[in-house]
Subunit: 362 residues, 2 copies
Amino acid sequence: MEAVTAAGAFMRQALLEAARGLGRTSPNPPVGCVIVQGTEVVGRGFHPKAGEPHAEVFALREAGERARGATVYVTLEPCSHHGRTPPCADALIAAGVSRVVVATLDPNPQVAGRGVETLRAAGIDVTVGALESDAARQQAGFRSLVVRHRPWVVAKYAMTLDGKVAAVGEGNGAVSGSLARERAMHWRDELDALAVGSGTLALDRPALTTRGVPGGRDPRPIVFDRHAASDPHARAWRPGGVLVTAPDVRADAHEAAGVTVVRAGTLPDALTHLAGLGISSVLLEGGPTLLGAFLAAELVDEVRVFIAPKVLGAGLSPLVEPVRFMRHAQHLHDVTTELLGPDVLVTGLLNDIPRLSAPGAN
Amino acid sequence: MEAVTAAGAFMRQALLEAARGLGRTSPNPPVGCVIVQGTEVVGRGFHPKAGEPHAEVFALREAGERARGATVYVTLEPCSHHGRTPPCADALIAAGVSRVVVATLDPNPQVAGRGVETLRAAGIDVTVGALESDAARQQAGFRSLVVRHRPWVVAKYAMTLDGKVAAVGEGNGAVSGSLARERAMHWRDELDALAVGSGTLALDRPALTTRGVPGGRDPRPIVFDRHAASDPHARAWRPGGVLVTAPDVRADAHEAAGVTVVRAGTLPDALTHLAGLGISSVLLEGGPTLLGAFLAAELVDEVRVFIAPKVLGAGLSPLVEPVRFMRHAQHLHDVTTELLGPDVLVTGLLNDIPRLSAPGAN
């Protein structure tokens, strides 16, 4: 537990700024920045989209002359290299800031501590590590892309208190309440892509949109369909959609409909291809077969489960994958719980959030 | 939500006193009492066992002369009738207390508001309803016995985050962590009886004890066994044990081994018989068939589920009972959640705690 300090409170604001870019910045990270004079926030910014200016630039613009002597809170180490935009470290030095508080170092080998070095060499006081885990969790997609060359995979499902995701019969009702469903829509807005299996596509005819989220943007739809037999005109398809199928499978109808077709022999291969398309995070919404396959391959990085306080007695399980012994169960860490109306939300990680390849760089 | 007041804090202490009698007082209720002079607790007591004095008597004994003019907090309306002990209302009047705060009225038709009336007639200021729901929940077994003539049934299980209570294979490990298992042992100590099906008895060879609970007493073991084919010398059996079987089934070996045999055609019948044996509360620990049958008959009053933050992929479901539509799921109310080490505990009620048959008596 991190004590709540003034620095923590300002970094929290920077994280909230960064969150505004979630789902919109890939392959870049979401980054937020606030600039503080004394106890007053004089500038704030976030990175809205690849190709647009970085968070620091917007914050410096708002602060203007008041950036001189100020403290800068930024959720990711400022860049030191010339990419599509000039280095932010240089801009901070030019603006005359006196202190920079950084949440996380950039795992990108082109930066990886050099941004901090540049600032320090210019006489700026730099602190690294404020709200580091929160920031790393927010950047999980970016970090996964840079370090592991595959997207961060979040499995989401809603089940009853007796572990059922759906009833057996037709005319199934919703498992969880409206607050839970609203939260799940926000996740769709925040993650790059939303994946389902061909069974879910056929049975549920999902729209896979962020309906009801103000200012929401729809995630890229991904359909795992080994035989490319699913409807290429299903309502889930929209520009950016990806069909993942097996090698040598023809998918002419999907290609003709504008769907990007990825052919992969294994799930890790498929994820590498998705990373190549700039997809840094995937929300896996099932069904049980797809979730089970990802779990078996240990490719589920994070789990977010809504538990509805009702008992059904029979129905479908969230995952279908034979694990023989309880001791072989995969354990979550960094577990959180939250009450959302009548439902309980449990989240946790199955894999670690990728860190710097060279630990101790700070 | 009840504001935390001084009265609330003293009633909370009375509830803690009462809790010391849980599992030991049937067919009497657990009752606690504290006597307060100004802000000082001068007497406390709880009902330890049927046939022994009531909570008020112990508290008055400790308070002695300091009961005069004091305020009494008691979790259940003081009795006004001559049972095995003289009426507590009379004892409180004789001790000269000036105020009595009562959590719940006694649902027993022999009392049902008459205790309060007696006190008021003697000029004592009486308040009813402090921490009423907490007290009623603590007295669920007693209230169920008096009002519904059957025990309060609590279904308990532990499952993984994908809804499995056990792995498929042999050599199964525990689902939940040590804090959860410790809590479950306390429940065994607090409820009158512990029920399993014949399948669980044969497969798990459970001891059904409160191992590890300091001062714990073992609940009466109940085995539901339609054919009376289970081992009459299983380690679960001890004095007070009950075999529930079908009508006309012979269970000579069980009877010879000292097991009480109940013959019932339906689950409601079985519960009526158990109530007749003075069992006010039953902790239902499965397996899936027994839990499913109780759920289908709408005889599960309360659910307590541990959810372990791990995913298994395959295994046994907590309940086996076909409910066709999600809208027919049974919804919990008064839901609570708690983190116990790595595990999440979710509790809730499926049936209401029996209240007075004549509501508005206060």
